[in-house]
């Protein structure tokens, strides 16, 4: 069962009816029980995976309690923290990275039988965050294990996150929610929007991308650029689509989760991009890796030394770049720890650092060439530049391996250039099995995405709120259009092997 399957929504429906019918103070109990059933089914009915997930949650709960009771015993508290981090992070790293290194080192298969629970990357970071907050006394420690179980296993978050902080979400999960027609409508609308992005748009773009990535010897030159730019669009539609479904399902229960995206393609530089893309992961790394590193005594003294050697301006930046390096490396390990993922994440680190280092030079060039920077065209240039840099990284992310990705880029740059393929309409009209109708659907889908972004930018509110202000015929027409677009043009049902969400694996 996946969050795209009919049986999932059937279960959600049953769970919702019970949730809203139960007395307010017991609704969270319904949610907790629903979690158990749905999480078990999402984990392909694996009791081992479910048990491991609950085990990790219980460990985090116990750690929180221990931190609370060991406030006076600093050394023991630190020891418990290290043990807690080793255990939680160890299971995460084992499940995500061990297969790669096991194959690399030809170690006999231990992990082949190990099936990690769905969403381990997401709930583990949330649990570690909770533990650290308790350790730093930033959290009110949860006393009720069942309430904490609900936080750790909240099923909408198991597919692709978001990564949440207990103090932001924990209370909302168990607090009393009054039934709101608008909230439920908004939830359904958001699920529909997510389905549209995933089934209509991402799956279609995926066909182009998969065809090119599947045969790199044939598809060289401009094909590669089409694939990498296409993949970033696919990734966006896929990842944000899954998040929309997750937020939508959560909203049906009246629970709002922190947003993971904020129009990332509007970003003008990579730092801003990462403040708009996978926001909760970035925030987690900032809160639990970057800041703690910066605040360590070792880094403080390192900072003093670099300021002495390179002056105040650059001396302050060097420790920050080092801390960023560690953060991005950890992000690479979080994604899978293979050279490919490490390259992808450190690629961002490299360009962010280069950008900061060369910023004064860029400013001088811009000023001397009298380029206007307070206009749309400059902002567009910056956004396109960011898009291109992110695409180059995403191109490697999509490849089977770092070597495979680099060889594709080699194929793009060294092979004979073939711009005419852009105008070979006969080829594109049957490319990878796509028809003219499919291309039209992709184009229409992208236009709808752009329109939604423009509405958000110009009105400052969500598209759903904007739609709510429109007349009934328009509102219904729009939702019916999306409903039938998904029903008719969605890639689902027999004959389609709808790929899992790309970020489900992380």
């Amino acid at each position: 069962m996946t969050i795209l399957s009919f049986s999932f929504y059937l279960l959600v429906g049953i769970s919702l009816v019970l949730y809203w019918l139960f007395p307010r103070q017991y609704r969270w109990v319904v949610l907790l029980l629903s979690n158990g059933v749905i999480a078990w089914l999402l984990n392909d009915r694996s009791y081992v995976a479910l048990g491991l997930m609950y085990g990790m949650i219980i460990v985090a709960f116990a750690a929180g309690k221990l931190f609370d009771s060991l406030d006076e015993k600093k050394r023991l508290k630190k020891f418990v923290l290290i043990a807690f981090l080793l255990l939680e992070a160890g299971i995460l790293l084992f499940s995500k990275d061990f297969v790669y290194y096991q194959n690399l080192l030809s170690i006999s298969s231990i992990s082949s039988r190990f099936v990690p629970p769905l969403g381990i990357s997401y709930f583990t970071l949330s649990l570690i965050g909770y533990g650290l907050d308790c350790y730093w006394n930033k959290n009110l420690v949860e006393k009720n294990p069942f309430r904490f179980l609900l936080f750790g296993s909240y099923y909408p978050m198991l597919t692709s996150g978001p990564i949440v902080r207990y103090r932001e979400v924990g209370n909302d999960l168990v607090s009393v929610h009054a039934f709101s027609y608008e909230t439920v409508c908004f939830g359904l609308q958001r699920i529909l929007w997510g389905m549209f992005k995933k089934l209509v748009l991402a799956e279609r773009i995926g066909i182009i991308v998969n065809t090119i990535y599947g045969d790199p010897a044939t598809y060289t030159g401009w094909f590669v650029w089409i694939a990498i730019f296409g993949f970033l669009l696919q990734l966006y539609a896929d990842f944000t689509g899954s998040m929309d479904i997750i937020y939508g399902v959560s909203e049906l229960y009246g629970i709002k989760l922190p947003e993971n995206f904020d129009l990332p393609f509007m970003a003008r530089n990579l730092s801003e991009f990462w403040r708009r893309w996978h926001i909760t992961l970035g925030a987690w790394l900032k809160n639990y890796i970057f800041y703690p590193i910066i605040k360590t005594g070792a880094f403080q003294s390192f900072s003093q030394k670099t300021m002495g050697a390179f002056g105040k301006k650059w001396g302050r930046k060097i420790p920050v770049w080092c801390a960023l390096f560690i953060s991005w490396t950890i992000m690479g390990f979080w994604h899978g720890g293979t050279p490919k993922f490490l390259f992808v994440t450190l690629w961002f680190w490299f360009w962010i650092v280069i950008g900061e280092m060369l910023e004064p030079l860029f400013e001088r060039v811009v000023n001397s060439l009298k380029i206007r920077t307070d206009c749309f065209s400059w902002h567009l240039f910056q956004s396109l530049r960011t898009f291109a840099l992110v695409s180059l990284s995403a191109g490697i992310f999509r490849a089977e391996s770092l070597r495979g990705g680099l060889s594709m880029y080699k194929g793009a740059l060294i092979s004979k250039q073939n711009p005419w393929i852009l105008f070979d309409y006969d080829m594109w009209s049957s490319f990878g099995g796509l028809t003219i109708g499919d291309w039209f659907t992709v184009l229409l889908g992208l236009l709808i995405l752009c329109a939604a972004a423009i509405i958000r930018l110009t009105t400052g509110r969500s598209v759903r709120e904007w739609v709510l202000k429109q007349n009934l015929v328009f509102r219904w027409g729009l939702w019916f259009f999306l409903l039938f677009a998904v029903l008719i043009w969605g890639k689902y049902g027999p004959g389609y092997n709808t790929a899992d969400f790309i970020y489900k694996g992380f």
Partner: protein, 505 residues
């Protein structure tokens, strides 16, 4: 108190909005599903647009191929309808009857019993899909069909039952359906069959008459008994007049025994039973010329069957004669159109069968021929599948011109499969050439296999695993007749120096 609050704060408007939204969605969903359903059978949905009828013939595809309602009206005056749904099984008969009876009551229900012998405990998409696609998207009868089907079968993992319930999930990818005018007709209730469900088969496969008549019984499986008893109970409860029938086909002894056991049950319930395979000689059915495939007669067979059976119905049942009723005159008009069309179809099927018989005569004479040129000329027939393998053939003085139709080149290894003039496969090079395939056969005849090989060490052709090989420099040819499912001849053409090819068997 609660209702006052409900009306006072405008919640009723929202509730109304929700109901209206769901209603509009359901309506549009229903339309969309119908438009995408490409396997809607006019014989089934067309029943809704028919006037008063007397006889309903219910079953799978068999129900559409044997009995000609318009001819029966013309000859005897009763109004019948062939209510055949492709691949339908006895599981669905109760639902089929419920569907038909909702439209109107019939004096006589003829129920095809052959699908009882075909009942299987496996889940087959074609069985459930082809019947349920004829019914309303939200029809209770449809959901009941599904329940009836699935509840008696062991479900294996991976069955996508949701796409059966919401069948748009399996048809939506066929967006070409949107551009088909006929697909939209269903919305306007236009789907109808002019022949009252009868379908003409202009295909031919030759068979031998199965001599398997028996009085032995084969115990019905629990599954068959349960399904069939449910059906008999239903018919009894509804006080229907039912004739259970087995039509002529290439029946096996086991199936005949099953029908005998079913007949015993039918007798207990007091319904009629008729295995028309017992009367094929009386009908004049020729198994060599009158069948489309193992399970269905072609048009020639249907004419013979119909003539016998329509008379049988008139003689054994009290059916009205509407020919004197002016309200039924349109049946006669439809019959005139039907007759005109059938005359054309008769000449088509006659011509086809004659060509097949001619090919058979030629096929039988092939083994008597010794002259290579004559033999090669005779095997160029659209009814034959020719499998050839050649290796290291030298073309001296254009000797290979004889084989130009099959594109054999000198000095290369060659493997070719041809159906008449149509190339199925040709591979030739200096490397080893190999090809394996199946001879065409009308379903459900099991396809026979063949293989061809050509290499530096010689050639070989196999049929159903039996291999015949030759040394290099020779051509191996096998002639297979798809209508008779027989190899007429298998020869070696040996190249003699400057004297052409000599034919050996």
């Amino acid at each position: 108190m609660m209702h006052k609050r409900f009306f006072a704060n405008g919640r009723w408007k929202k509730a109304l909005g929700v109901v209206a939204f769901i209603g509009v969605f359901a309506l549009m969903f229903n339309y969309a599903t119908w438009i995408f359903r490409t396997n809607v059978n006019d014989d089934v949905v067309g029943l809704e647009n028919e006037g008063d009828l007397d006889v309903l013939w219910l079953g799978g595809s068999v129900a559409a191929h044997y009995f000609q309602p318009l001819q029966a009206y013309h000859d005897y005056g009763y109004c019948a309808y062939d209510f055949g749904s492709n691949a339908c099984r006895t599981d669905f008969y109760i639902n089929e009857l419920a569907y038909a009876r909702r439209i109107q009551d019939f004096d006589l229900y003829i129920v095809d019993l052959r699908t009882l012998a075909l009942l299987s405990e496996e889940v087959r998409d074609i069985e459930i899909g082809s019947w349920t696609s004829q019914l309303g998207v939200f029809s209770f009868n449809r959901f009941d069909s599904m329940y009836r089907y699935y509840s008696k079968r062991r479900l294996e993992d991976g069955i996508d039952w949701t796409s059966i319930v919401f069948d748009i999930a399996r048809t939506h990818s066929n967006t070409k359906a949107l551009a088909d005018e006929r697909q939209w007709d269903i919305l306007y209730g236009k789907r109808q069959t002019e022949t009252r469900g009868f379908e003409t088969a202009i295909q031919h496969t030759a068979f031998e008459k199965p001599n398997v008549a028996t009085t032995e019984r084969r115990t019905l499986t629990d599954h068959q008994r349960e399904v069939f008893t449910d059906l008999l109970d239903y018919c009894k409860n509804k006080k229907m007049q039912v004739l259970f029938i087995v039509n002529p086909y290439i029946v096996s002894k086991e199936e005949w025994e099953t029908y005998n056991s079913a007949a015993d049950l039918i007798d207990v319930y007091g319904f009629d039973y008729l295995n028309t395979n017992e009367y094929v000689d009386e009908m004049g059915i020729d198994f060599e010329t009158d069948f489309e495939n193992m399970n269905h007669v072609n048009y020639l067979g249907s004419v013979k069957f119909h003539k016998w059976f329509s008379k049988y119905l008139k003689e054994h049942y009290d059916l009205p004669d509407h020919r004197v009723d002016p309200e039924y005159s349109f049946w006669e008009d439809d019959y005139e159109r039907f007759k005109k069309n059938q005359e054309d179809l008769t000449s088509q099927i006659t011509e086809l069968v004659e060509s097949h018989l001619e090919a058979k005569e030629t096929g039988l004479s092939l083994s008597q021929m010794d002259d290579t040129t004559e033999w090669l000329s005779a095997i160029k027939n659209d009814n034959y599948t020719i499998v050839l393998a050649a290796s290291d053939i030298i073309d001296d003085d254009g000797m290979l011109d004889l084989f130009s139709d099959w594109e054999i080149q000198p000095g290369e290894n060659y493997v070719g499969v041809w159906e008449g003039n149509s190339k199925i496969y040709v591979g030739q090079s200096n490397e080893t050439e190999e090809y394996e395939g199946l001879f065409s056969a009308s379903s459900p005849i099991p396809q026979q296999s063949y293989g061809a090989y050509a290499g530096d060490d010689g050639t070989a052709i196999s049929v159903n695993g039996i291999v015949q090989d030759l040394p290099p420099g020779q051509i191996k040819v096998v002639v297979f007749d798809v209508n008779y499912q027989r190899v007429w001849d298998s020869v070696a053409l040996v190249q003699e120096n400057n004297r052409g090819f000599t034919l050996y068997r």
